[in-house]
Amino acid sequence: MKKANKKMNSLPIEFNYNLPIIELTGNRSAMVEGSTGVLHYGSDVIRINTRKFVIAFSGRGLSIKCISPTCVIVEGFIMNVEFIN
């Protein structure tokens, strides 16, 4: 059991807990890998659902540049990133 835990710990954290990967480029763009859907889409707020929590991007002029079943790219002036459980 301990060996199995050790093996699990040697893997990157996102594989261990199914966590999404968020890549921010300044405050202009954010890429969320591991999304399961869009919960809210507005020019001020975009809420993206992941397996563990909801990520809310707020700002102005926000838009979804690209979207696929597991990945979303948000563009605009991001002022705030919120993680909602």
Binding site: G37, V38, H40, Y41, G42, S63, C66, I67, P69
Partner: protein
């Protein structure tokens, strides 16, 4: 850019979404693999773009998401084709134009010469034409490397040549050979001798011993400047042979004779001329105007007009040949006119033959014969009569 082209070719629709839960629609689209882009939230709706092929299959999804889809704009080739479906001529013309472009791009439209300074361009064009590179030649049939080699052999003044067949224009880059510098031959001993009889007026000697004086008469081949130079004070007994150099000016007498028959044969141009026109397209020539001329004596002027677009000569143009006919007429000319003609001939001859010399005196005399009148011109010219004559020293 490539993606934009592909989207345009496939056709896309700018759509708007109105509904309570457009986010649901986005998720449903993702799950069903529908491709869309530029989805932007607007005041009370969302607008985006979608490929035409996907738009046909999303009605069901939209109903499921309880949103209302409406197309705002249709962009792309399928819509243009649909618009002009009834006008088959346009499509046919377009296809024909593309085919024609592909066909024509296989030929040489123009041959340009770059880097020619001293050589005759016509000579190079002719050499290129003989080797197969000319306007209208099929590019695939021209071996450019062989043409380059042949051109260098045919025109020996060319040092280097390279032919770049860019699109349909063959640009011939040419480097000419450097001209050899003149070798100064001045090492051998020589005399300056008189080219003809004359009276010396001036001497400008740079090397050698002058043997004549101003005012002295000299005969042909007489030594004017000797190669033998006596030694200086230290070496009085020593003689040296030098390469004589200098100019010896003398007054010489020249005679010229001109004649003019009393009856002149004149070629009188006819009032009418004949035009021959042909349309040129690459190598093909289509006669537009055919006229035959029965003139024994005729002369023609050839014009070649080529169509130009943005400085590029197109292989389309018109060749014009204007032929003038002449009538032969024999006219008796009066004495005075003949004399004027003869004087003009004499003056022309003077300009060509004595242009570089000073004519000190000239005298014209006329001799009238039965059929012709002669003009005898006598000149006294001042010119350099010294020529070099090599001396053998043993």
């Amino acid at each position: 850019m490539l993606i934009k082209i592909i989207r345009f070719l496939r056709g896309y629709i700018v759509f708007t979404v109105v509904g309570s839960y457009p986010e649901r629609m986005i998720n449903l689209f993702n799950r069903s693999g529908v491709n869309y882009w530029d989805l932007l939230p607007e005041e009370d709706c969302y607008s985006g773009k979608m490929l035409l092929s996907d738009y046909r299959n999303i009605r069901k999804i939209a109903r499921k998401a309880s949103v209302r889809l409406s197309s705002k704009k249709r962009v792309g080739l399928p819509f243009i084709i649909k618009k002009y479906k009834m006008r088959k001529g346009i499509a046919f013309g377009g296809v024909l134009a593309v085919l024609l472009m592909i066909f024509l791009s296989g030929f040489v439209w123009d041959v340009k010469l770059n880097g020619v300074q001293r050589l005759e361009k016509n000579e190079i064009y002719n050499a290129l034409s003989e080797s197969g590179l000319k306007v209208g030649a099929f590019k695939g049939a021209v071996d450019f490397e062989a043409v380059e080699r042949e051109l260098v052999l045919k025109v020996p003044e060319i040092r280097w040549v390279s032919i770049n067949a860019l699109n349909s224009i063959a640009e011939v880059e040419i480097k000419e050979k450097f001209s050899k510098p003149a070798v100064k031959k001045g090492k051998y001993p020589c005399n300056l001798v008189a080219k003809c009889d004359g009276i010396i007026t001036d001497t400008l000697i740079s090397r050698g011993t002058c043997k004549v004086k101003r005012g002295s008469a000299v005969a042909e081949n007489q030594v004017l400047v000797s190669t033998v130079v006596e030694g200086t004070n230290e070496m009085l007994d020593k003689l040296t042979y030098v390469h004589s150099d200098g100019k010896v000016y003398a007054d010489i007498s020249e005679k010229r004779s001109f004649n003019q028959p009393r009856n002149r044969t004149l070629l009188i141009p006819k009032k009418n001329y004949i035009d021959k026109t042909e349309l040129c397209f690459l190598w093909f020539k289509l006669p537009l105007k055919i006229n035959s001329s029965d003139n024994e004596l005729s002369s023609g002027i050839f014009y070649a007009e080529r169509l130009k677009l943005n400085g590029i000569t197109l292989p389309l143009g018109i060749n014009r040949l204007r032929i003038y006919g002449f009538n032969k007429a024999i006219k008796k000319v009066n004495k005075e006119k003949i004399k004027i003609l003869l004087k003009k001939k004499a003056m022309l001859s003077e300009a060509f033959n004595f242009g570089n010399f000073k004519i000190k005196n000239k005298k014209y005399s006329f001799t009238e014969l039965k059929d012709t009148i002669h003009l005898n011109a006598e000149y006294i010219i001042n010119k350099n009569i010294a020529v070099k004559k090599r001396v053998k020293v043993e």
